[in-house]
């Protein structure tokens, strides 16, 4: 009995003092650092696959997206803030696709934390979302990005060597889509 207690005590102490992470949650990836290695399934819709510039059907990594910048929104169809923000993100998508010189270099994707594919579809249909949305039903990506509150926007620069750097990581609205686009272009040094 005493040994068991000792073992438990050591376990608790090691968690407390050495920061052993038993919760499975990582720190929120911050600006200047790399975005965690996540893989996503290739979209079934041909248009979305083409938009991301993917070939083949194997799960892909962010740095495989044919873009210089990837705007990744962590959202949930159940999140009222994300619902309110959806038209604004659509506007950002339109702003990007209309701006000469960046259209093919900036791509937007959404990851639905804890949402099933069905729930993602409801969200997509409700707001007529044209960029690819992915289901993260098991919260595995959500955990890797520090269990952020939603919506959280990451802007990830894909470097020439295949590595990546976060140039923006913030919870909440992107506010004005044009200003946001100008800001991330500036921050990322996109020419």
């Amino acid at each position: 009995m005493r040994y068991k207690i000792l073992f438990l005590l050591m376990f608790v102490l090691s968690v407390t003092f050495f920061g052993i992470n038993i919760t499975g949650a990582e720190p929120v990836p911050a600006k200047g650092g790399p975005f965690p290695e996540i893989t996503l399934p290739v979209p079934e819709k041909a248009g979305e696959k083409e938009y991301l510039g993917l070939t083949g059907n194997k799960p892909f990594r962010i740095s495989q997206i044919k873009a210089d910048l990837v705007i990744l929104e962590i959202f949930s169809m159940y999140c009222p803030y994300c619902q309110k923000e959806a038209p604004n993100v659509n506007e950002l998508y339109q702003t990007v696709s209309k701006r000469a010189g960046v259209k093919d270099r900036i791509k937007i994707i959404g990851v639905g934390a804890g949402n099933t594919a069905f729930e993602i579809d409801v969200f997509r249909t409700q707001y007529d979302i044209r960029f690819p949305l992915f289901s993260d039903e098991s919260f595995s990506i959500h955990k890797l990005v520090g269990e952020v509150r939603t919506p959280h926007f990451f802007v990830i620069r894909i470097n020439a060597d295949g590595s990546n750097t976060i140039v923006y990581s913030k919870v909440g609205s992107i506010e004005d889509s044009k200003q946001f686009l100008d800001m991330i272009i500036k921050e990322s040094g996109l020419k």
């Binding site: 438990l8 038993i22 919760t23 949650a25 999140c79 009222p80 952020v148 959280h152």
Partner: protein
């Protein structure tokens, strides 16, 4: 004997640490206003109701001030009752907003949704205001406390209701019951599938 107490205390500490690993995403909408009760016993009641039985009637005050009964929909609409445990808690705050953008699924199946919680009207008002305009009525089962939840066999021992869904057809017969793990949100497609089965 003393050992047992230590063990209990340690298990308690470990349980608290694990609480932070609950998988749910919180909307920025509610910011720091959400109270986390931690991981709760998944189900803490036992309903005697079964699919095929007549749904117990009730009338409860709603946020709009109107009293809403189950009976008023008989012969007209299929009814989904969504009991949620408590306002301002993590999973509940991220359940009704989802239904709020899934109206099409209810309409298609000639169904309405009644949201019920044991919270009082002012609390429900403040809480649901954060969700935007809800298309479905929100009913308060506050007084006599949890009476309807109890009637449906979903009142937990601490006075809140289970996270439960009841699908009731136009004739007032229960077609589907999901007394869900309180810590998790039921997937929308499971409800959608049940609605598809109903006579419209």
């Amino acid at each position: 004997m003393a050992d047992k107490h230590y063990l209990k205390a340690l298990l308690g500490i470990i349980a608290v640490l694990f609480v932070f690993s609950t998988a749910h995403s919180a909307s920025e909408q509610f910011k720091g206003k959400i109270y986390s009760p931690g991981i709760l016993k998944p189900v803490d009641s036992k309903t005697r109701l079964k699919a095929g039985m007549k749904a117990p009637d009730f009338a409860l005050p709603s946020l709009s001030g109107e009293k809403i009964s189950l009976g008023q929909h008989r012969g007209k609409k299929n009814v989904v009752i969504s009991f949620v445990p408590a306002a301002w808690t993590p999973v509940c705050s991220d359940q009704w907003p989802g239904y709020n953008i899934a109206k099409g699924i209810f309409d298609k199946n000639n169904a309405i949704l009644l949201g019920i919680s044991v919270d009082n009207i002012p609390t429900l008002y403040a809480w649901t205001k954060e969700m935007g305009d809800l298309w479905f009525p929100v009913l308060s089962d506050f007084y006599p406390h949890g009476a309807v939840s109890k009637k449906y066999g979903v009142l937990r021992s601490d006075g809140v209701s289970e996270r439960a869904l009841f699908v009731i057809d136009k004739r007032g017969i229960i077609r589907y019951i999901d007394v869900h793990d309180i810590n998790k949100r039921p997937a929308l497609e499971d409800l959608a599938k049940e609605l598809e089965k109903l006579e419209k």
